[in-house]
């Protein structure tokens, strides 16, 4: 039983956490690709930016002496989402819209998004320094819920932290809301139409400029949520999301670029593949030692890939996907 609990703690929970973050990021990337047809590299730094905005707001509220039972950064999340969405609109207006108006190729927009990445990263480090911060305001702590498993014969509890629990709930709500938005609302249908065929959508009288703005608002807000959640789960640092923007892209591509549901599936797929690949299987298979003949023991470490190579798992999956099924699991859009 302990082996199963260990598996749940190490794989199920941490995989779901990582998957939620990847999925939220990948939805933004995939929506932008679907509507604007370029790979938005600055998405990771938009996540970092959102996390820092939430951090500032939380610190400001805490300084005013307001307290909540939930983590402060989570309470201010809606406001931070709005601010990040406005900033995303501003970034589009300032850097991408002029290039689009000139009729620049998607590649040029990709390079421009790298410029934006560098600027955001430089600014964030300029203002906040390059150290690591805690997302919790003084006096708060990361609550850990321990679910006692003695009724099932386990000696150790299942551990889950408060931000992880919040994250599961928030991700579920966002995914459901997005589903209804895309399938039921007029604007969501317009978005899907434009992702399918931009020219046809414009001819049919869809306000494409509005669709572009809505895309940035959604992408910015989701980036803020993903960044804040990541910072709550780990810690707040300037290169927080820059390091995971590549797995996010891998998730979006594996799911099929331009396909929102694909991004969710891809996010969880990549996350679980990463966690399972570095998982030490000996911990689960240890009972087998009793069955195995004398002299044959399981080695101490039986993980598929050494932990240092965790990040490469995403790229290996990406390369295999690109070779076997370039459009992703769900058929994605193309440039």
């Amino acid at each position: 039983m302990d082996e199963l609990i260990f598996f749940i703690n190490r794989v199920l929970i941490s995989g779901t956490v990582l998957g939620s973050i990847y999925a939220l990021g990948a939805i933004g990337v995939t929506l932008i690709f679907g509507i604007l047809r370029f790979a938005h590299f600055a998405h990771g730094d938009m996540m970092t930016m959102g996390a820092f905005i939430a951090f500032l707001l939380a610190a400001a509220l805490a300084a005013m002496g307001i307290t909540f039972p939930l983590p402060m950064a989570f309470v201010v999340l809606p406001v931070a989402m709005v601010i990040t969405a406005i900033l995303a609109l501003g970034i589009d207006k300032g850097f991408y819209a002029p290039l689009r108006a000139r009729g620049a190729k998607p590649v040029t927009l990709l390079i421009a998004s790298i410029g934006v990445t560098l600027m955001i990263q430089g600014l964030v480090r300029l203002i906040f320094g390059s150290g690591t911060r805690q997302m919790y305001v003084p006096g708060e702590s990361k609550d850990i819920f321990r679910i006692d498993m003695s009724w099932a014969g386990g000696s150790r509890p299942i551990n889950i932290t408060e931000p992880q629990l919040i994250m599961f709930v928030v991700t579920a709500i966002i995914v459901i809301a997005l589903h209804f938005f895309l399938t039921r609302s007029r604007l969501g249908k317009a978005m899907r139409a434009m992702a399918d065929n931009a020219d046809l959508a414009q001819v049919s009288g869809i306000n494409t400029a509005l669709v572009v703005r809505v895309t940035w608002v959604i992408a910015g807000a989701l980036a803020c949520v993903a960044g804040t959640m990541l910072a709550l789960d780990v810690a707040l640092m300037p290169d927080l999301a820059f390091n995971i923007v590549l797995p996010i892209f891998a998730a979006a591509i594996v799911g099929g670029l331009g396909h929102a549901y694909g991004a969710i599936v891809g996010g969880f797929l990549i996350a679980f593949a990463e966690t399972l690949a570095v998982f030490n299987w000996t911990a689960v298979l240890r009972p087998l030692n009793n069955i195995l003949p004398e002299g044959m023991e399981l080695p101490a470490n039986l993980s598929l890939v050494p932990t240092e190579y965790k990040l490469t798992v995403a790229f290996v999956i990406l390369v295999i996907t690109l070779l076997m099924r370039p459009t992703g699991i769900f058929k994605g859009a193309s440039t």
Binding site: L110, M119, L246, L323
Partner: protein, 440 residues
């Protein structure tokens, strides 16, 4: 574009005069930095800028000539650096006298077995296993081969790391190491190109950036081969080191100047040689064919050109220059530190160099490389100066001094790089010295 360029003087419109003007301007910038920062310091900047110019030429072959998106530059620089460590670092006798070489031999054998297994599995259609079953057999062969390899490499790596530290070098001349860096890069580029060149631009960008991260993870964690995060230093120079000159009776400041001048001359000679070849290739039929493929690969394909094959050629040639440049950088700094490689410093900066200079124009790319590298280096002290002055003001206002000025000013250059690239894309999308298109 036209409205802006009509209003400026005629000299600006002529690409040759414009180039000369810009190079003269850059000469004065170099002179000014040299006077402010001292001769030894500007020589350091110039030598590294020369290596980066070589790397930027490599990217120009790929992106400027062929329109190939390569974000794996950092990976190739690391490969070049690691190769030159292997060839030119002094021999590590502790390794050769231990059981290490034997164990590595067994690793090699295991690797060969794994490769043979995969190759055999790919041929199972000969005995009637086809379709999905063949795929399954190939996947199984990959898995089994991987496990065979891991059973040998894990103990060998642990043994070498505990007894000898790392494999060490072969003690050969550093210039040979640079050539070896180019060679290894070419081999790796061949496989990367085989895998990813069929992809469209955005996919290619992400695939190459992923491959470069894989290369970084490998080089960083293969401690037995590259010493990983423990870094390798000091690397030998092909020209006399400052310490050797000091032993020969030069004063300490002079020794640095002379040693760096010699290194600079050597690297400039290599740059000129590479530039000559690349420029000749551009003007020749080969270059015309590459531009034809870049501008319309469907038309070029229908004229009978082997599009993917030619693109693979470009990718390999560009990567050779990147590998050589990376090896030169590692030799010059005398330290190979895998954790010192960052996508921003090593991939994106080269892209900014090529785009600001003018993709497709070798003169422009060399100019861009020197200009951007100097901007990159001097934005740190400049930002520090601004911050120190600001700090005085804030102190007078009673807000207290700005903390951590050093580390913050260092980040200023990332921001400046971002600003430069966005301005260039907006107002000079073809670069400072654009590619001249002859219409006849």
């Amino acid at each position: 574009m036209s409205a802006a360029s009509n209003s400026v003087t005629k000299a600006w419109d002529n690409p040759v005069r414009r180039g000369i003007l810009l190079f003269v301007a850059m000469f004065f910038i170099v002179l000014a930095v040299g006077i402010i920062q001292g001769t030894a310091s500007i020589l350091l900047i110039l030598t590294q800028a020369t290596a980066f110019a070589l790397i930027a030429l490599g990217l120009n072959i790929q992106w400027g000539y062929g329109g190939l998106f390569n974000f794996a530059i950092m990976g190739f620089l690391m490969v070049g650096g690691a190769s030159t460590v292997f060839l030119s670092y002094p021999v590590n006798m502790a390794f050769w006298e231990s059981d290490g070489p034997m164990m590595l031999g067994r690793v090699l054998a295991a690797f060969a077995v794994a490769v043979a297994l995969v190759l055999l599995a790919r041929r199972v259609d000969r005995i009637g296993i086809t379709g999905k079953w063949r795929t399954a057999v190939v996947a199984l062969a990959w898995f089994v081969g991987y496990i065979i390899y891991r059973t040998q490499i894990d103990p060998a790596a642990a043994y070498i790391e505990s007894t000898a530290g790392f494999v060490g070098g072969l003690g050969l001349h550093p210039v040979l190491g640079w050539a070896f860096g180019g060679l290894v890069s070419a081999v790796i580029a061949f496989y990367i190109g085989k895998i990813s060149l069929g992809l469209r631009t955005d996919y290619l960008a992400i695939a190459t950036i992923g491959i470069s991260e894989i290369l970084r993870a490998l080089i960083k964690n293969m401690d037995w081969l590259t010493r990983g995060t423990m870094t390798v230093s000091p690397m030998p120079w092909p020209t006399p080191l400052p310490q050797q000159l000091q032993a020969a009776g030069f004063s300490i400041p002079d020794s640095f100047v002379y040693a760096r001048v010699m290194f600079l001359v050597l690297s400039v000679v290599i740059l000129i040689g590479a530039f000559f070849l690349v420029q000749r290739a551009y003007g020749g039929p080969w270059g015309r064919m590459m531009r034809a493929i870049r501008d319309n690969h469907i038309a070029a394909g229908s004229m009978g050109k082997d599009v993917t094959g030619r693109q693979l050629e470009l990718f390999i040639f560009g990567s050779i220059l990147m590998g050589i440049g990376g090896a030169m950088l590692a030799t010059f700094t005398q330290i190979f530190d895998p954790s010192g490689y960052q996508p921003i410093n090593h991939t994106f900066m080269v892209w900014v160099m090529v785009i600001v200079g003018g993709a497709g124009n070798n003169w422009g790319v060399v100019l861009g490389a020197f200009l951007i590298y100097i901007v990159w280096i001097i934005s740190d002290p400049l930002a520090q100066m601004i911050f120190l002055n600001l700090s005085v003001i804030t102190e007078q206002l009673g807000w207290g001094a700005i903390p951590e000025i050093d580390s913050r000013a260092l980040q200023m250059r990332v921001f400046v790089l971002g600003v430069v690239i966005t301005i260039a894309l907006r107002y000079a999308p073809k670069g400072l010295i654009p590619e001249t298109v002859k219409s006849s």
